[in-house]
């Protein structure tokens, strides 16, 4: 303080020199004003800054999440006209960098265009010596092609877009710049500049194998499919063809390399499938990579599904009509993974079919094609479909010239693109390998290319929070399975199992923590000497500062195996220890009043703890015996439902209810006389009556509960199969215990503070009117402090919701929807901790985990705000009392 004074004195520069009376300047020193201003600004900026930061967290999380729900954007629409036009386009491809497009025309010519400028490039053609293919197909990635001919021959081939990196110095001399772009060409290949002064060279290469005679001479091949499979050491290729007589032939080529000699030996085997009905017009034929399923689709919508797992005896497994009404089937394609089929029809509908095992299926292999999804229909008939090589995205084109980008999992239409002319008829469409461009070949020689950006096609609000029918699943459901090794994997991103896991962990841990914490708080605040309180409260609070990683470790590695061994004793402890405590309480009442008063403080509390310990040890000792009684001697088998009956344990669970009922009934019948009897002068007699009544009621309730349980079991009710089911070592009960350590001290402290904050005069008044401490606590203190106690529970719940390390370590992390206490769970928080370190920045999983974090943020923020509001109300009320 002296500083300030000095400053003020020194600051006054206008004191006359040598004046006998020192006059104080009334002017504030400049430095003081400056310091004050600076502090003022700094503190304001700092304070507001922190507050903005707080809001910023939520905004930032939301900003990361938003792109999940914004379908796709069209970046660029390019149109050009082919310079020459000879034959119909069979198919169309785009390279990885959406630089060039490759068209195979019906006469085998290969046309390559630079997309951005429409410049035609030279390329090697498929030479058929004048023959015109009658059938054509290619693999999803486009590399492997197969042609069928009118004479019954088949030619396999490859169409490769080769990518290589060349130095600027290695560019051919005659390169020319392509239009306005940075790309260069020498007429054959395209060179795109990349960072580091190098160029990426893109060129098309073709390979065509010799013809193979598949169908009888002169029988045209109408449809074809060609797959490469097997392993690197033992590659297999399979070809399915359908000829003009309706006969489908499957041939399989297997190449084995002899380990010793290094020689390759190729075997070819062929088999004929059951003939199609006369007059079938074959639309297309599809085959899986393993060549174990063949689908022959007819134009009228009938699909013949062959089971070719047994190569020598293929079977027609199923015949299904995909187009029962007037419309015809126009396209049938596999989505990547070959688990689902997408069918486009002439009336514009687009359906997705799954092959699923079904009970009571009329097919020979027990599988059925099931229409899983009907997507938004086109206004005109579907003419072409191309599927993605890396996900469940596909593009559909209709007769009006509209091209829609869709996704099989989310069922949404990501982008709707129209042709530049407003209507066009397409021969072929292609989806770029990186799902970032679509190209469509018009019959009039106009090529339309759309550069698109669809970063998160698989997520919509519905896929995240609703039921989704995933491939291979019998029905729609909520599933979380975020990643796997292959592109064909369908990410299952439903937050519901995780939210459920969080709720389950919270509910069970609150069931354990709330009774203990609240009872302990009431006891500490109302029944304990302040000196005891000053020891007990910090002890409990110490629990709050235990790091949760420690709790998780102890729970998972020490507690879980221990509980697993002694599970029966642990379960029964929930019943035996409270009963023991009550028994001790009734016994205590029998003591002379003087003793009760003298030792009513700390000694009584010590005794309580001793009783707890004694009954805990008793439970431990009697555990195996009781396990034999309640759980048929083996808890795990019992919980599975494979051993014993549920009756004894059901009875045990029902006992509290039965006890309550019997208590009420005796109160009704003999309440008055009991009360009169107990108001005698003989305390001991009263206590004995009280205890006797308790014991009798307990036994009676046991009998009653057993009776009800037996009746229930007659009605085929079994306690097992819901909340109690198969035992897993790291389970929700363990999580509940461990979370108790984290949550109990929080609830305890806040509730105890609330109870303690009830004004002393209320307590004094109640006691003064003759109420006992118990009556005061329950009828006066607790109702007054109720909102504070409620806030305590809410704050505790907030902690349980967000707790991470305990659930990561002790919960087993299985994302299932199951209330079983003995099964694990996967909570939102644990999921973030486990998966975020591996998630690619800005990928779908990354954003999904941010959404999980945002969900947690919102849940806890809501819970805590509610608690805070209630608490503030309570404070006001308490202050006004």
């Amino acid at each position: 303080m002296s500083d300030a004074v000095t400053q003020i004195e020194n600051g006054g520069g206008n004191t006359p020199k040598g004046a006998p009376v020192r006059r104080r300047s009334m002017k504030t020193s400049r430095s003081v004003i400056l310091a004050d201003k600076a502090a003022d600004w700094l503190i304001r900026i700092g304070g507001i800054g922190v507050i903005i930061a707080v809001i910023g967290i939520m905004v930032f999380l939301a900003q990361v999440v938003v792109p999940l729900f914004t379908g796709g954007t069209l970046e660029q629409h390019i149109t050009f006209t082919k310079d020459t036009r000879d034959a119909r386009a069979l198919t169309d491809l785009i390279d990885d960098y959406r630089t060039i497009t490759v068209t195979i025309e019906a006469d085998g010519q290969v046309k390559v265009y630079h997309i951005a400028t429409g410049t035609a490039l030279r390329s090697p053609d498929f030479e058929f010596d004048g023959a015109v293919p009658t059938a054509f197909n290619r693999s999803i990635s486009g590399g492997d092609v197969a042609f069928g001919f009118a004479d019954g021959t088949l030619r396999l081939g490859q169409l490769k877009i080769s990518v290589s990196i060349v130095d600027a110095s290695a560019l051919p001399a005659d390169v020319q710049t392509l239009g306005e772009t940075a790309d260069k060409t020498d007429g054959n290949a395209v060179f795109t500049p990349i960072p580091g002064g190098q160029f990426r060279r893109l060129a098309v290469e073709t390979v065509l194998r010799d013809p193979q005679q598949i169908a009888p001479q002169g029988t045209a091949i109408m449809a074809i499919d060609y797959r490469l499979g097997g392993t690197v050491e033992r590659p297999t290729s399979s070809v399915i063809t359908v000829d003009a007589t309706g006969i489908a032939r499957l041939s399989r080529t297997e190449t084995r390399t002899n380990m010793m000699t290094g020689k390759e030996r190729t075997t070819v085997r062929s088999t004929e499938l059951a003939a199609l009905p006369q007059g079938t017009v074959v639309l297309d034929v599809l085959m899986t990579s393993k060549a174990d399923q063949v689908y022959v689709a007819a134009v009228d919508g009938t699909v013949y599904r062959y089971d070719t797992r047994n190569f020598n005896a293929p079977q027609l497994a199923e015949t299904i009509d995909l187009s029962p009404d007037q419309a015809t089937l126009s396209v049938l394609r596999f989505l990547i993974g070959e688990q689902s089929l997408v069918a486009g029809r002439s009336d514009g509908t687009v359906d997705i079919y799954f092959r699923l095992p079904r009970d009571g299926a009329v097919t020979t292999d027990g599988f059925e094609l099931v229409r899983a999804k009907r997507l938004e229909p086109h206004r005109a008939g579907v003419v072409a479909i191309d599927v993605s090589q890396r996900g469940k995205m596909f593009a559909t084109a209709d007769a009006d010239g509209a091209v829609w980008l869709r996704h099989g999992t989310s069922e949404q239409v990501l982008l709707r693109m129209a042709s530049a002319s407003g209507s066009a008829h397409y021969e072929a469409i292609a989806l770029a390998p990186r799902e970032n461009a679509v190209i469509a070949m018009g019959t009039d020689g106009v090529v339309e290319a759309w550069n698109v950006s669809v970063p998160h096609p698989e997520t919509t609000l519905k896929t995240i929070f609703g039921k989704v029918w995933y491939e291979g699943y019998p029905e729609p459901g909520y599933t979380w399975q975020s990643s796997s090794g292959t592109d064909a994997f369908e990410p299952k991103l439903s937050l519901i199992p995780l939210i459920f896991g969080t709720i389950k962990a919270t509910v069970y841990s609150m069931l354990f923590a709330v009774p203990i914490a609240l009872s302990a708080a009431i006891f500490t605040s109302e029944f304990v000497h302040p000196r005891v309180r000053s020891v007990v409260k910090p002890t409990m609070e110490m629990m709050a500062s235990l790091p949760s990683v420690v709790l998780g470790f102890i729970a998972a590695l020490i507690l879980a195996p221990l509980v697993e061994t002694w599970i029966a004793a642990v379960m029964l402890a929930f019943f035996i220890i409270p009963t023991g405590i009550l028994f001790a309480a009734y016994a205590w009442q029998l003591l002379p009043n003087v003793v009760q008063l003298k030792y009513g403080g700390a000694p009584r509390f010590t005794l309580m703890i001793a009783v707890l310990l004694v009954f805990a040890i008793l439970t431990y000792l009697a555990g195996p015996k009781l396990e034999a009684v309640f759980f048929a001697g083996d808890f795990k088998a019992w919980a599975n439902g494979t051993a014993g009956s549920g009756v004894p344990f059901t009875a045990l669970l029902l006992m509290p209810l039965a006890f309550g009922a019997i208590w009420l009934i005796t109160e009704r019948i003999a309440g008055t006389s009991l009360a009169t009897a107990m108001r005698t002068d003989h305390r001991f007699r009263a206590a004995a009556i009280d205890m006797g009544r308790w014991v009798v009621s307990l036994i009676a309730s046991g009998v009653l509960a057993l009776l009800i349980a037996s009746l229930l079991s007659l009605a085929h009710f079994d306690i097992r199969g819901g909340v109690i089911d198969t035992y897993v070592q790291r389970n929700t009960m363990i999580v509940g215990f461990a979370m108790g350590f984290a949550v109990i001290p929080i609830i305890y402290t806040i509730a105890e503070d609330a109870l303690n904050a009830v004004p002393e005069h209320l307590r004094a008044a109640s006691l003064g009117c003759g109420a006992t401490a118990w009556q005061t606590a329950i009828n006066v203190i607790l109702p007054t402090a109720m909102s504070g106690v409620f806030a305590a529970i809410m704050v505790g719940m907030g902690r349980a919701v967000g707790e991470t390390m305990i659930v990561v370590m002790a919960a087993g992390n299985t994302p299932i929807l199951d209330w079983n206490v003995f099964e694990g769970l996967r909570a939102l928080s644990a999921n973030i901790a486990v998966e975020l370190p591996e998630a690619v920045k800005d990928g779908t999983l990354y954003r999904m985990l941010f959404l999980a974090a945002l969900t947690l943020f919102v849940i806890t923020f809501a819970v805590n705000t509610l608690a805070e509001l209630v608490r503030q109300r309570f404070r006001k009320r308490a202050a006004s009392l």
Binding site: I43, I51, P547, I558, W694, M809, F857
Partner: protein
């Protein structure tokens, strides 16, 4: 209607008190004794939970480093198991096992309701047995001996060895050892270990420093290249200088490598041959032995010295054997560095915000809302802060810093990934509500009269805050900061996302410019517990380590909490006299 008793009856009641015993207004049930006991029981459960927990951690943590005797157990199969008994428990043998037992053993099990006793032995010798631990059931045991000549050898690889030391070889000369206490072994061991630490020093620190400087040269050059291009004058000049410097460093590097190689060569001549109880032998370098002692032939003072040296190793050494052995020094250092940085970040912001809310902002609806928000932030799950820290600090902020200041290192991230700084900032964000709430409470406890008095004396607002308010609020603020430290030190979940690693090759502080490397990832005691307990090959082998680490972490946090209380009390006393 009973309230309106007719007077005669009332008189009659009152007039006949002697006829029957006096009745109380309420019966014994009004005292609610059973309910009270239920409440007390709950408190008892809570207290038992915490006390039991602490005792268990303390017992296991303190006992871990005590050298335990090695039992040699012969079982019915004739198999010999030698190891430290770690724990004994009851279990249920499967029916097939029970069926194969003798009548008497079956009877014992039946008497215990199907439970049998078994002991877990730490048998070591992972290189021979491919397991660290073995359960031995009590009914299988024929004989347990504690031979005096058996030794436990702690090695740098393959975990402990249990058996005998056959012989040692010093520079090719084989010396058979007849006793465990042979001084020649101790001498050779000391020599080899000294060289070993020299090699470590050369390879880890000196060569590390050279590599670091070579890399610095490369980065400097790259920076110039990015700035001025390859053809510029500056580039060619720098390149010349850098090349010269690099060549020099390269020769330095080679010199050091040779030096290390020479030491290694000398150590290669010093080997020890170990023999396990089954008779299989293994020869390893003496320098691979950390410590060896005859477990069953130790005096108390030797036991104490081994115990203390293990503690010292734990506190001062780096971890080895996938973190399940050795020390946790980098983790202790990381925890401290991170907590310190966090306090530097959180204290000013927390205090300034509280000052703003309490002293500057107009108290109204908005401030009340902000206050609720701040309170709530304390309840937002820590993992959410971790997610924010990763997304915002590491990727957005760090990414921009990399673009601006470290373009020469791209695409390798410098600040654009998890690290010490981002961890500290994330935890600062997490703990800022704690400091705000504590400071606000402390500020509101300063009587208004003092502020008014100061202002009335002519002090400015800032002067009042600086000289009157803050000193009196200091105890509360300190408490808040220390509690924030305790919370921060125990938090693991967010750190898993923003920079903690299981094994950090370099400490965030070292002797190389710029000395403090805030971008480096670091080790943390809490994460060490998670990692060793859950990610290691054998969680049983890591358990002792986890317990000691837990003890250390809990100890650290309790010390912080207690110091918060002490600081509060002391400062309170200091200012208690100046209260108006």
């Amino acid at each position: 209607m009973s309230a309106f008793m007719n007077p005669e009856q009332a008189v009659a009641d009152r007039s006949a008190p002697t006829a029957q015993p006096r009745q109380r207004a309420s019966d014994i049930r009004a005292r609610g004794e059973p309910f009270t006991w239920a409440l007390g029981g709950a408190l008892g459960v809570g207290c038992l939970m915490i006390i039991g927990f602490l005792l268990m951690v303390f017992w296991n943590g303190v006992g871990t480093f005590v050298p335990k005797p090695i039992a040699v157990v012969t079982t019915t199969g004739g198999e010999i198991t030698a190891g430290e008994a770690t724990r004994t428990e009851l279990y249920r043998p499967t029916p097939e096992v029970v069926a194969a037992l003798s009548e008497a053993a079956r009877q014992t099990i039946a008497d215990r309701d199907g439970f049998a006793e078994r002991t877990l032995y730490r048998i070591g010798n992972f290189d021979f047995y491919s397991e660290d631990f073995r359960w031995v059931s009590a009914f299988d045991v024929i004989d347990v001996k504690y031979p005096k000549d058996i030794v436990l050898v702690e090695r740098t690889e393959w975990g402990p060895f249990i058996g005998h030391i056959e012989s040692i070889a010093v520079d090719g000369e084989v010396i058979a050892l007849d006793s465990v206490h042979d001084p020649r072994f101790a001498e050779a061991h000391a020599q080899a270990r000294a060289r070993w630490s020299q090699i470590q020093d050369i390879e880890r620190h000196q060569i590390g420093a050279v590599n670091y400087r070579i890399n610095q040269q490369r980065l400097t050059l790259r920076r110039i290249e990015l700035k001025d291009g390859r053809d510029s004058q500056a580039y060619s000049e720098t390149k010349r200088a850098a090349d010269a410097e690099t060549a020099e460093l390269q020769s330095e590097y080679e010199r050091l490598t040779e030096q290390a190689q020479a030491l290694r060569q000398r150590n290669a001549g010093m080997t020890v041959t170990l023999e396990e109880l089954g008779g299989r032998e293994k020869t390893i370098g003496i320098d691979e032995i950390v410590r060896t002692y005859p477990a069953n032939d130790l005096s108390s003072s030797e036991k104490i010295s081994i115990y203390l040296s293990r503690w010292w190793e734990f506190l001062s050494d780096e971890p080895r054997e996938a973190n399940t052995e050795g020390g946790v020094m980098p983790a202790i250092f990381g925890t401290f560095a991170m907590t310190l940085l966090m306090v530097i970040a959180v204290a000013p912001f927390g205090v300034v915000t509280a000052l703003y809310l309490r002293e500057y902002a107009t108290q109204g609806r908005l401030v009340a809302f902000v206050r609720i928000s701040v309170n709530n932030l304390a309840g937002v799950p820590s993992i959410v802060y971790g997610v924010f820290g990763l997304g915002f600090f590491a990727y957005v902020l760090g990414g921009s810093i990399d673009q601006l200041f470290y373009p020469e290192r791209l695409p390798n991230p410098t600040f654009g990934t998890g690290g010490l700084l981002w961890s500290a900032l994330t935890l600062a964000l997490l703990t800022v509500p704690v400091v705000i709430v504590a400071t606000e409470e402390a500020l509101s406890a300063v009587p208004r009269s003092m502020r008014e008095g100061s202002l009335a004396c002519g002090a400015s607002k800032w002067q009042t805050i600086k000289y009157i308010v803050l000193p009196r609020a200091l105890p509360g603020i300190m408490t808040g900061i220390i509690l924030a430290m305790a919370r921060g030190a125990g938090e693991v979940a967010p750190l898993m996302l923003v920079g903690v690693v299981k094994l950090a090759p370099e400490l965030p502080v070292d002797g190389l410019f710029p000395y403090i490397h805030l971008e480096r990832s670091f080790m943390h005691l809490g994460f060490h517990i998670y990692d060793v307990g859950f990610q290691s090959r054998n969680s049983e082998a890591g358990k002792p380590m986890v317990f000691v680490t837990t003890l250390l972490l809990i100890g650290l946090i309790f010390v912080m909490n207690i110091s918060a209380i002490v600081v509060r009390n002391r400062l309170k006393k200091k200012f208690v006299g100046s209260q108006f």
